[in-house]
Symmetry: C2
Subunit: 504 residues, 2 copies
């Protein structure tokens, strides 16, 4: 979920200073209009220590008119607060209509820390997240605009940040033992964060993950997202006043007007494998896979493989290298193309549910439910609300798979546009491959940039601890095939190690 | 929550047979239209054993075209099902677009029974309800029409039903030891049911509670509710096709065209108290209240009283009989009239949150958050979606109060229209009371029937185990005042008995 926020995105100083004057003016204008509006704006900040929450809030205060802006944070409970239900303190501090409140800490802080420190188990943590969800729903249903920013830093970047602050004689007082203890709990913290975002990122109160690595990048990202979301809502209010009837939640602007840096652009596309290494790797991992699947079958552990990727990225070839190693009774390959009549008459997830493997078997999906947030999103077959809500639906679906003990492995096979062009041309020329190339492939190619953003969103929203995406550099087919096999063996091995043998 | 379904509503045989032919025709026509429609209909039945679930489903099969109707039930897991995630069996059985599926048992059955039998604690039960909610949301967001009927019987009525079946030589095989064991667990079952309905009755998949006492009443209620909900959705689809853009969840028809029988109509309005008994009762309970509140103060137990009721029902008088018994430092009375500017600029619940008492104190609300589902509903100050969603918001708010240890006591003071008229006239004539009577009072009076239905809904949706409504027969002021005091003392006593003394 956070890998897309570990790309070390930066905004050069020049670009930054060039953008500021206009951005400030737009923010001020927007605030003036907001003052007359019929809704409050609630901005929640959360995330990794050192990722720049306070700095960003300070910047926003600098850029905006602070008379109509308040910052709030919650520390130890006061006597007054201790005497009342937990949420009393939050209700007190809600902004009235026309104002913006920036919450530096919020209803998220205590539940997350309690869980990270082990004071609260998973079930109670979920209960608290459910409470948060209905709290935010109550406010949003009534018109409040709720924006939530998760400021992220990688573990290494956080360490670097803490060290830097410690060394700075003016700032080292900011760093306490508590900060280092938090850093040691980084992995637990990120797991809790992932669960929080999955459970509380709703259409009415979405989270936006912001990379906190570069101060300029993060401040501008947040400011632009706030500006756009408020503008969108103000516009919407005008349309409504002019006669349209129904309030719609606004989409969260996904790239904030900054030049997009996607996770795919950070893959090392030069990775390759010599013929010898390929043959050796294939042999090694296929025989390992064969044994692992026998063991999995015996222990009734099922596997689901998802293959997604660009046209001509080599999905079919990779799948064949897997199935070769398996017993034909153990697997099925499901090609996902246009739905059948019967499938079209059901919810889009129905066709995937029906193909779930029995205990101990393998289902390989050649394309999958991710079509909803890829081709259906981009071609407009699914409406904005439909594909936006699909992330939560997919996470929920996959959580059910994983909780029932299924090993879920998801591959994105990545190639560069140049490599794809070459493969297309090759297909045109080789008779027995020509059928594989359609007009649609050429059309999809034209929308490469849209797809790349969609893939970035997909990884951000659905690469979870339980069901991570494996991004495979596939310009070199040999590297890709071995990498797929290696990953699959690794995941199966982990699953088998974690599961006791079944009773005879 | 279920008290409104224990009114022994009946439909006379004559009325029943008169309604059937037309109803059947309407159902068939509706089904024909539905076959071409773009959504499936999922009807879930749950409730108390013996409340007529199967009988109702059989009747629906008799009345409708069973080619486009399927009934589903889930028993023990099959091998196939055991091998896959829990929800696989439900996904398999979902109806395609244009069809109706009646689920006699469903995704609710196992979670509820597991909880009632103590195999699953509250936190895990809630987790499972959350899973149900997101399952239903996924289907409903995609267009499925989901209707859920909770068939209810009182504990006595269930016993009677089981006995009757046992005595019937043709039917006694239906009754097993298991049924009697369930009956013994009636209270746990109803508590689980209440939680289920509170947590899963959403705008997109609402529950309707149906009184199962009379076979004719319940079959017709369910059939009419199904007919109306599908018709509404079909109409909506036409409007959308004609250009309107957005899908709205339909309201659940609240009385199904049957003559309304409300819970208020079943109160014994002749209850009264002699002057002597009144004086004695007042003395007794006021002194008891005084002591109880001292103890509550010491143990830091707060109390919130809600007074709702008809105009001139005697709320003020009852409140004064309470405050007389309390130390002035311990309580505040909050009159809820038009909101202040500041209050109007916040969510409607904000004004109530801000007046929550500190530990050990009492807040008395003279009218309350229930205005949302009473006057605001009836006068149209709140839109349909707003007041419908308010039940869940209110339940959530009250759950937070109760969980934080607050004693919440809610009174509805009921008088008959005649009694109100007499009191209004009296007020007109007595100079020092005349100011209390406004034109609005006369206007409200004209909408008595609407209010009565709104009160019935309010009791059905918000009278919970944790925060029950006390309906007070108030035609006789003396009876009402003593009854209010008595109830309050009882609730405080229970709360004090359940709480340990705080550490010094």
């Amino acid at each position: 979920m956070f890998r897309t926020a570990e790309l070390q995105r930066k905004l050069p100083k020049g670009d930054y200073h060039q953008q500021i004057p206009q951005l400030r003016q737009e923010l001020l204008m927007m605030q003036m209009e907001l003052r007359e509006a019929d809704f409050p704006v609630i901005v929640v900040f959360a995330g990794v220590d050192g990722a720049g929450k306070s700095e960003t809030v300070n910047k926003l205060h600098e850029w905006m008119d602070s008379r109509w802006l308040v910052a709030r944070a919650f520390g130890e409970l006061s006597d007054e607060e201790r005497d009342r239900p937990e949420y009393w303190r939050f209700w007190r501090e809600l902004p009235p209509k026309g104002r913006i409140a920036l919450f530096l800490s919020s209803w998220y802080s205590v539940p997350i820390l309690d869980h990270v420190y082990g004071r609260v188990g998973l079930a109670e943590f979920d209960e608290r997240l459910a409470r948060i969800k209905s709290f935010e729903k109550t406010l949003a249903d009534d018109g409040a605009l709720i924006l939530k920013f998760w400021m992220h830093l990688s573990k290494d970047a956080q360490k670097e940040r803490l060290r830097k602050l410690e060394k700075n004689p003016l700032l080292h007082w900011q760093i306490s033992k508590r900060d280092w203890r938090h850093w040691e709990l980084y992995d637990q913290f990120v797991a809790a964060a992932e669960r929080t975002i999955m459970k509380t990122s709703t259409g009415l109160a979405p989270w936006k993950i912001v990379e906190g690595y570069d101060a300029r990048y993060r401040s501008i990202s947040v400011a632009i997202a706030i500006r756009d979301a408020i503008r969108f809502r103000l516009e919407e209010a005008k349309t409504q006043a002019a006669g349209a009837a129904v309030h719609l939640p606004e989409p969260f602007p996904s790239e904030s007007g900054l030049p997009p840096v996607t996770i795919l652009s950070r893959l090392d596309m030069d990775k390759s494998l010599s013929k010898e290494d390929y043959t050796a790797g294939l042999k090694r991992y296929q025989s390992q896979l064969n044994q692992l699947q026998r063991a999995a079958r015996e222990r009734r552990i099922s596997t689901i493989l998802v293959f997604e990727g660009w046209d001509a990225a080599g999905k079919g070839g990779s799948i064949r290298r897997i199935t070769t190693a398996l017993d034909a009774r153990d697997y099925q390959v499901i090609q996902i193309a246009a739905p059948t009549d019967e499938e079209a008459a059901h919810n889009y997830l129905w066709r995937f549910w029906r193909h779930l493997p029995r205990a101990g078997r393998v289902t390989i999906f050649d394309r999958s439910w991710y079509g909803r947030v890829l081709v259906e999103r981009i071609e407009g077959f699914a409406g904005t609300r439909e594909w936006q809500r699909a992330y939560a639906e997919i996470n929920d679906f996959e959580a059910q798979l994983v909780e029932s003990g299924i090993v879920l492995v998801k591959f994105w096979l990545h190639i560069t546009p140049d490599e794809q062009l070459q493969r297309f041309k090759e297909r045109e020329q080789i008779a027995y491959k020509a059928w594989k190339l359609t007009d649609e492939d050429w059309r999809n190619r034209e929308r490469w940039a849209d797809y790349e953003l969609a893939v970035n969103d997909l990884v951000e929203r659905t690469s979870t601890h339980q069901a991570p995406w494996s991004l495979i550099e596939a310009n070199d087919k040999r590297h890709a095939r071995v990498e797929v096999l290696r990953t699959l063996c690794e995941r199966l091995e982990t699953a088998l190690a974690g599961q006791p043998k079944p009773p005879k």
